[in-house]
């Protein structure tokens, strides 16, 4: 086995595991599905690693994760819709003296997550790639496989929907 290649892969690709998992969480809206798909995507990435030449490893991995997510969705279409939920051991042990500010922050965050979750996939992915992963338009265009003009118009429409879902588009009095 080419142990050295695996080690190179681990060094170059594995640091982006959090980003890969974040994208999968948003695309699939389920933590267990996201884990399965990211594992599959990483093993796929290892098999395609020969084809990877010094580019941006993160965008390269995200493209594979994105394709694996879409394939997974097509295969499991309509199976279920799971609302994201705090489910980690550590998250149960929150401070019981949670302040009102924290509670408000938490509910705002929940509203935001709901707004994102209700976007169609093609809008959700550009939002996640831009606002969380902070990819350039060119990189998003490569990951999603659409022209930059399409990236731009999807971003514009997605943000418009989110602005109205979050009540940010109300005209201010001033």
């Amino acid at each position: 086995m080419a142990q050295r290649e695996v080690e190179r892969f681990e060094r170059i690709v594995l640091p982006h595991l959090d980003d890969a998992y974040t994208l999968a969480r948003y695309l699939l809206r389920d933590e267990h599905d996201a884990q399965d798909v990211v594992q599959d995507a990483v093993l796929r990435a290892l098999r395609y690693f020969d084809g990877y030449r010094d580019g941006d490893a993160r965008a390269w991995l995200l493209a594979i994760v994105r394709n694996c997510c879409l394939t997974w969705q097509r295969r499991h279409r309509g199976d279920r819709f799971v609302v994201p939920f705090a489910d980690d051991v550590a998250e149960h042990i929150t401070d019981s003296r949670e302040t009102d500010t924290l509670a408000i922050e938490r509910s705002e965050r929940a509203m935001l997550e709901r707004a994102i979750a209700s976007l169609p996939t093609e809008f959700r992915e550009v939002i996640v790639l831009r606002e969380i992963e902070e990819l350039s338009y060119k990189e998003i265009s490569d990951v999603v496989g659409v022209p930059m003009g399409t990236v731009m118009s999807r971003l514009a429409r997605a943000r418009k929907r989110l602005a109205s879902a979050l009540g940010l588009d109300v005209q201010e009095a001033s």
Binding site: M1, R4, Y48, A90, E108, R109, L112, I116, R130, Q171
Partner: protein
């Protein structure tokens, strides 16, 4: 620039994706058009809210462990690497590289005595295996008074099970595991999304040993010896917090030793 052109370019403007001259045109238009300015402010606020509010998830330990163990499989790479390249790589590798690469678990072979090398490999393997679904806990309880007696009759030792939840290391439970050819106690703690396995078994060496940290495959492993017990803590938690954990663990309770 017309309002329509300005609105078309506005997302690219907010994302700083415009050419300098386009950027100047948009800026000039915004300075003179209140409607477009309002539109811009909504867009900028939306983008800011998303950037600040959206969760950046952390890949769970379980996922990392699954990926690492899949990558360690000899078949993980087979489909993309033709045999000639493999032999070339073998030739190119220096002697130490071959020794290190022949098994992922020979890390530290150069400076560790064989027994300890095996134990390090064993506790790491056991830690990774424990992260697979359904392998972590034989007894799940956050109460030391449930976990500690549970080991009675299952092992010839009574492991330390201090309460450390007040400093952010909640007890999750325990299990009996098999390390270095014997049954050992594994007591499990959590830290945020990290899992800490504390292994203990009676030592043949009575001399105490101060905790020392080693790192292997992204996991930190702390080994120490106290009152005739071999003690190991394994986690992908950062080394500093793991050492802090070990210090508090030691301070809270000393092992009662073999019975």
């Amino acid at each position: 620039m017309s309002c329509a052109d300005c609105r078309d370019a506005m997302n690219a403007y907010v994302d700083d994706e415009l050419m300098p001259d386009e950027r100047r045109d948009v800026q000039a238009h915004l300075a003179s058009c209140a409607d477009c300015r309002r539109e811009h402010d909504v867009l900028a606020a939306t983008s800011r809210t998303l950037k600040e509010g959206l969760v950046r998830h952390r890949a769970p330990d379980v996922l990392k462990a699954r990926i690492r163990s899949a990558l360690a499989q000899p078949t993980a790479f087979d489909q993309s690497v033709p045999p000639p390249k493999r032999s070339w790589l073998r030739l190119a590798a220096a002697g130490v590289m071959i020794a290190a690469a022949s098994s992922a678990l020979t890390f530290g072979a150069i400076r560790r005595p064989p027994a300890q090398r095996t134990a390090t490999a064993d506790v790491l393997t056991s830690h990774i295996r424990s992260l697979m679904p359904g392998h972590l806990l034989d007894i799940a309880s956050t109460d030391q008074h449930n976990v500690k007696p549970w080991f009675n009759g299952r092992l010839d030792l009574s492991p330390s099970v201090p309460r450390l939840d007040s400093i952010g290391f909640p007890l999750l439970g325990g299990r009996v595991d098999y390390v270095s050819g014997r049954s050992v106690a594994a007591v499990v703690y959590g830290r945020r999304q990290h899992i800490i396995n504390v292994f203990s078994w009676p030592s043949s060496d009575a001399a105490p040993l101060a905790p020392s940290v080693s790192t292997q495959k992204g996991y930190h492993i702390v080994h120490w010896r106290n009152e005739g017990m071999e003690m190991w803590a394994v986690s992908d938690l950062n080394a500093g917090e793991l050492e802090q954990f070990v210090a508090r663990f030691e301070a809270s309770e000393t092992p009662t030793g073999a019975r």
